[in-house]
């Protein structure tokens, strides 16, 4: 235990415990629900979790800088609708071009958020509460009462959610799920190893010190928002592919789900702490519970949100208490480990 504690950082213990909770939850549900551990159920969860992972990744980038983006649900809606409309009008458009359209729409809207936060010096929660309403209003006005329907979309897009990267027996690994995981992993690597990533953590954990150190905080915040927006645009594209039918309310409330996944995954809303692996596990846990509770006998679907709220509260509370204890223990261990090989210098110089 002692050595284990020294090898693992507290954050890693948190991720392990989240994985354990997911494992326990799955084990529990498999005793309650018939046919639970089937390939079909995995496919269902992984299809819905793909979008949540992308959004949780997007939200985490912004939360790391001690900001928040409440507008991503609206960005998903705008990107899904406009991309669907573009594809409806130009069915010959290539998949890559369609994704680019969604990414550009998202990045543009995210850029507006970022500029207002970083250079307008307007608090993030005010900016994104405002743009949450503005982007949605624009969409409703723009769309009139028209809905994007699946039959106006090209066939490749309708088939995309069922595209398997890999398949054995009943178990299918969907392409979109793999895409979401790859994105989270790549961005986590960038956060760990690129100067840009380290600086995002730095400006979030201590903005004053980061400014003193000469970090270009405004530019970093803008980049976080722009990438967050682009990822929300990508999620909009995935939303379009998954549902086919897009109304003006598409994506409403997804911002809360993304914040919830990040927070359950241990990303601190005070900025500067948290990993995308945590956010990914948070997204998996939330979607697994969501999908499992709907199929649980004796639990009505109306109980889902109450249990979800309880889960978030328990996750945040235990996480907070555990982290404080672990971090204290870890620091003590580190100090001991460092102090042990060299005896205290005072003893040598004592006369």
């Amino acid at each position: 235990m002692e050595t284990l504690r020294r090898v693992l950082r507290p954050e890693q213990i948190r991720e392990l415990s989240l994985a354990l909770i997911i494992f326990v939850a799955v084990a529990f549900f498999s005793t309650q629900i018939e046919n639970y551990l089937s390939g079909r159920f995995f496919v269902r969860v992984s299809t819905s979790v793909a979008i949540t992972i992308v959004l949780a990744t997007a939200q985490t980038l912004v939360i790391l800088t001690r900001n928040i983006d409440l507008s991503i649900g609206s960005i998903v809606g705008v990107a899904a609708y406009v991309t669907g409309q573009v594809l409806g009008a130009n069915p010959e458009l290539s998949p890559l071009a369609a994704i680019t359209v969604a990414l550009i729409i998202g990045a543009g809207l995210g850029l507006i958020n970022g500029l207002l936060v970083a250079y307008g010096r307007v608090p993030a929660i005010i900016v994104t509460l405002g743009t949450l309403a503005i982007y949605r209003t624009w969409l409703i006005d723009y769309a009139g009462a028209k809905t994007i329907t699946a039959d106006s979309l090209p066939q490749w897009l309708v088939d995309l959610p069922r595209l398997n990267l890999f398949s054995s027996g009943e178990l299918d690994i969907r392409g979109l799920f793999v895409l979401a995981v790859v994105i989270a992993v790549l961005i986590q690597l960038a956060l760990n190893y690129l100067p840009w990533g380290r600086r995002l953590y730095a400006i979030g954990s201590n903005p004053e010190a980061a400014r003193m150190a000469g970090l270009p905080a405004p530019r970093l915040v803008v980049s976080a928002y722009a990438i967050c927006g682009a990822l929300a645009g990508l999620a909009g594209f995935m939303f379009l592919a998954r549902f086919g039918t897009i109304t003006v309310t598409a994506g409403q409330g997804l911002e809360l789900q993304a914040v919830a996944a990040a927070v359950v995954g241990g990303v601190s809303t005070a900025g500067g702490s948290g990993t995308l692996l945590g956010a990914l596990l948070g997204a998996v846990l939330i979607d697994t519970l969501n999908q499992s509770l709907t199929r649980m006998p004796g639990v009505s679907e109306f109980w889902r949100d109450a249990l979800l709220g309880l889960l978030i509260l328990v996750a945040v509370a235990t996480d907070y208490v555990l982290m404080q204890r672990l971090r204290r223990l870890w620091i003590v261990d580190q100090l001991k480990a460092r102090a042990a090989p060299t005896p205290a210098p005072e003893e040598h110089h004592a006369p």
Partner: protein
């Protein structure tokens, strides 16, 4: 020019200018605007939100936030409806039960924030999802109405002269809120804690108790607003009040209350409430759709912080250049 810059420096001054402009525009555009009926109507359509905005101002000045208010409103309304549906208690007792449930909801969240030190954003986000979920557990996908006649009348008919009950409650609460925030020790504590919780603790203020009481009050007031909403609408669904938290928070922040806590005045919040109500009313009379109104208010929220920032930035730049020559 000098005058306008000076008034811009005070938030309330800026809000007053905006309010006068909006009212003047309304008078010019619509002949029915200047009537008592329209004026009562203007308040009545958002009365539950502005009641909650008063307590939300305290919570945000204290440096916290309560995202769960709209869900507590819906939950309380659903408690009244379900108790009434099953004839479990007399109706007045059902209302009392709903208020207790609201206070308990606040107590639970307040405990996690004040005593365990968790961020209120995360705790009340869980509350937003969880209490809405409990409303859904109670009412499922039904719509419950058929309330007693007196209850509906309280929500829909004038009580004193042309003034309905909810508006009276709002005015009474606003007076109490102003007195408490300006003159009572509790109000000072709220502001001091919002400025710097550590300093407040060292000066002997019971920070935990102040925070806990604010969350209990927030839950209680939200429940009251939920019951009033049920009375006004005459029917309750699980989704009653959904999304109100955004409008409520917008009212408070537009009123100049700092999202980081420690500063803000109820005069500002009152002015921002009047601006928002008059804008919605005027835009409604001018046949602008409700959706577009929401977008315009979102833009106003951002501009209300952005414009003074830009003006200050320009002024500082000019002073800086003048100093060098």
């Amino acid at each position: 020019m000098r005058l306008s810059l000076k008034s811009l420096r005070s938030w309330e001054g800026l809000l007053l200018v905006i309010l006068i402009a909006v009212v003047a525009l309304n008078i010019a555009l619509s002949p029915v605007y200047l009537g008592v009926g329209n004026f009562i109507n203007l308040f009545q359509l958002s009365i539950e939100k502005i009641i909650v905005a008063l307590i939300m101002a305290f919570v945000i000045i204290n440096g916290e936030i309560d995202l769960s208010v709209a869900s507590v409103m819906g939950f309380a309304a659903c408690v009244v409806a379900v108790v009434h549906e099953n004839n479990a208690l007399p109706f007045a007792a059902a209302v009392a039960l709903a208020l207790v449930v609201g206070a308990l909801a606040g107590l639970v969240q307040g405990y996690f924030v004040a005593h365990m030190g968790l961020p209120s954003l995360a705790v009340t986000l869980a509350g937003l999802i969880g209490f809405r979920g409990m409303a859904r557990m109670l009412v499922e996908d039904r719509s419950i109405g058929d309330f007693p006649e007196w209850f509906n009348a309280l929500g829909q008919k004038p009580l004193l002269g042309p003034i309905p009950l909810a508006l009276l409650i709002f005015v009474g609460m606003a007076v109490i809120a102003v007195i408490v925030l300006q003159s009572a020790a509790f109000g000072r504590y709220v502001t001091v804690i919002g400025n710097n919780a550590d300093v407040a603790r060292y000066s002997g203020i019971d920070v935990k108790r102040v925070k806990l009481s604010l969350f209990v009050l927030s839950g209680l007031v939200a429940a009251l607003a939920g019951v009033l909403l049920a009375a006004r609408l005459g029917a309750v669904r699980a989704s009653t009040g959904e999304g109100f938290e955004l409008d409520i928070i917008t009212m408070v922040l537009l009123g100049g209350v700092s999202i980081f806590g420690g500063s803000g005045s109820l005069v500002g919040v009152g002015l921002s409430i009047l601006i928002i109500l008059n804008m919605r009313n005027g835009l409604g009379l001018a046949n602008v759709e409700a959706n577009t109104q929401t977008g315009i208010i979102g833009a106003l929220l951002i501009l209300s912080v952005l414009v003074p920032n830009l003006v200050n930035g320009l002024r500082r730049a000019r002073v800086g250049r003048a100093g060098h020559t």
